[in-house]
């Protein structure tokens, strides 16, 4: 088979791992793909360079293809997500000073989002300067998770606290400088905040919304249609990479590869924290969170329509887009389990029987279930 050249853009984050491993462990080559990886500096660049065809595919925020298809992006080019790049991987970190105030307000000191949220609410209600939290992009899992946690804890985002946009590499410094009091971001930027002594991880994505996707493989719809074989081969390579990364025996090697100068350019010890789920919450205090980042188990790379629809409900909730049947359909169509199924079929792996699933009461920390077949009611119940 002759090599198919595919150019992929990525941002230096833990969950760019599958793309990096697919290339570095020769898994892309096995599928006949010459996978070129290009590191980018902003999500806007990723989005634009996919839109104009500089990148065939990219490491993308889960809500980003949905936003593009709903016309929320400056360049209106349809983007599809035929694969999720793992589950979890994010956390919420607050400054050591804010953490002390949360402790004083009764935070138990674990990573349970419920009690931590209640303590934060007490802090907010106690007055003082308005708190400011940072996320990396408006159309990101980080933004919607943070807002969900705050809102369910009785804190109204934008009214009670501010949410600003900040690039991940600046977050730890902003925390130390007091420019922001907290942030929600992917690894290794929470661990970086902890390592610098500026922050404490208060909770993690896996506790706010269990088994939830963060990044996806974003593909220009036109490229996907014109290059079905190349795309299928890439999905197989990424699937093989996810299986390799899911084996704890490979974590140390994966962290070393990802920490290389062409990728994250960080000490592998820092990357190993999120990868192995052994995180330091605050300097010197380690915990084990086995489901912190899941690259392979629980159908971690399967692009559930349910997940696209949940992100859509949050886009409606926070005023990004008005709710309509047409918009909901466009959101649902952004994730393409059909492409995933046909590409992965040769592996003979067990795949989910349907493309939608009920997110039961235990999925979200506040116990509210999400039924993808009755999102109208869900949206209505969350109206702000």
């Amino acid at each position: 088979m002759s090599d198919l050249r595919i150019t992929a853009g990525f941002l230096p984050l833990l969950d760019s791992l599958l793309l990096v491993v697919a290339r570095e462990k020769g898994l892309a080559a096995t599928q006949g793909i010459d996978l070129a990886l290009v590191r980018e500096t902003s999500w806007a660049n990723i989005r634009d360079r996919v839109a104009v065809g500089h990148f065939d595919v990219a490491h993308m925020l889960g809500p980003m293809p949905i936003a593009a298809n709903l016309g929320l992006s400056p360049i209106a080019v349809p983007i599809v997500a035929p694969m999720t790049l793992g589950l979890g991987g994010n956390a919420i970190t607050v400054s050591v000073a804010l953490w002390q105030r949360m402790l004083d307000a009764g935070a138990p000191g674990n990573i349970d989002p419920g009690p931590a949220g209640a303590a934060l609410r007490m802090v907010v209600a106690g007055g003082g300067p308005r708190l400011r939290f940072a996320v990396t992009h408006p159309h990101s899992g980080h933004n919607y998770e943070l807002r969900y946690w705050l809102a369910s804890s009785g804190i109204v985002p934008d009214r009670d606290v501010d949410i600003v946009i900040l690039p991940p590499p600046l977050m730890a410094d902003a925390l130390a400088a007091g420019t922001v009091e907290g942030y929600c971001v992917g690894e290794p930027w929470n661990s970086a905040g902890v390592a610098s002594g500026a922050g404490r991880i208060v909770t993690v994505k896996a506790r706010i919304w269990a088994e939830s996707p963060d990044k996806v493989l974003g593909v220009g719809e036109r490229w996907a249609t014109q290059n079905p074989e190349a795309l299928a081969a890439l999905l197989r390579a990424l699937y093989a990479a996810s299986v390799w990364c899911g084996d704890p025996a490979n974590h140390a090697e994966a962290a070393a590869i990802l920490g290389g100068p062409a990728y994250l350019d960080r000490p592998s010890e820092l990357l190993l924290r999120g990868l192995s789920g052994r995180l330091e919450l605050i300097r010197g205090e380690s915990v084990r969170i086995p489901d912190f980042y899941v690259p392979s188990a629980q159908s971690a790379t399967f692009p559930w329509i349910t997940h696209a629809l949940w992100y859509y409900t949050q886009m409606v909730r926070w005023g990004d887009v008005p709710h309509s049947d047409e918009n909901a359909r466009r959101a649902a169509d952004s994730y393409r389990p059909d492409l995933y199924r046909s590409a992965i079929a040769p592996f003979g792996a067990a795949l989910p029987t349907g493309d939608r699933k009920l997110l039961s009461a235990g999925t979200f920390f506040d116990g509210v279930p999400f039924d993808p077949d009755s999102f109208d009611t869900y949206i209505e119940s969350q109206r702000v």
Binding site: H54, P74, A76, H137, I165
Partner: protein, 196 residues
């Protein structure tokens, strides 16, 4: 300001490039051009500037923040789009290739903005070319320095003339199918190792 002239904001941390673009726009007759080098300053001055067109370099790691800021900002009271004509894929591609992103308030006539973008793209490309040439010149200078050092070593240790020292380097390079500068570098490194 009661003027039908467009207010243009250039956000670029590279002061030299920003100046090159600013000059180009002024030469083309645009008087309301503002250059800002830091994101913080954008936040402070956006209302006062009230830009119709914002040009940002793609290398700016703060692009997500700036973009969000323009979408929210009341100073840009109309919605922003990137580029005027979303369907003009070639123009958008050329701009991104050059490293330019531009935000334009909605409703501006295409031809009014196109010349501004074309100018920005042209100047960005000219700047990149300049940068490349500068890098090449710098490398050439560095090569020259290494070769001179190697020649000096040969002159001192072997008692060769300068011309003979150079031809020895050249002959060795040809025999080994390597560049003269690489041979010179090996010689300089080896001599360094032998020094007391």
């Amino acid at each position: 300001m009661p003027s039908d002239e467009l207010a243009i904001l250039i956000v670029d941390e590279d002061r030299v490039r920003a100046t090159i673009i600013e000059d180009g726009l002024r030469e083309a007759g645009h008087q309301r051009v503002t250059v800002i080098n830091s994101t913080q300053e954008v936040a402070r001055r956006i209302t006062e500037i009230a830009p119709d067109v914002v040009v940002i370099d793609l290398e700016n790691p703060d692009r997500d923040r700036l973009e969000h800021f323009f979408t929210l900002s009341k100073a840009l009271h109309r919605p922003v789009a990137m580029f005027v004509d979303r369907s003009d894929a070639a123009a958008i591609g050329a701009a991104i290739e050059a490293g330019v992103s531009a935000y334009v308030v909605d409703g501006l006539r295409k031809d009014r903005v196109k010349s501004i973008l074309d100018m920005a793209v042209l100047r960005f490309n000219a700047y990149s070319r300049l940068q490349r040439e500068l890098d090449e010149a710098r490398t050439a200078l560095e090569d020259r320095r290494v070769i001179d050092k190697a020649k000096a070593i040969l002159i001192k240790q072997r008692g060769l003339s300068e011309a003979d020292a150079y031809s020895l380097l050249r002959k060795t390079a040809m025999n080994q199918n390597r560049r003269i500068v690489d041979i010179a570098q090996s010689l300089v490194t080896a001599a360094g190792l032998l020094e007391p």
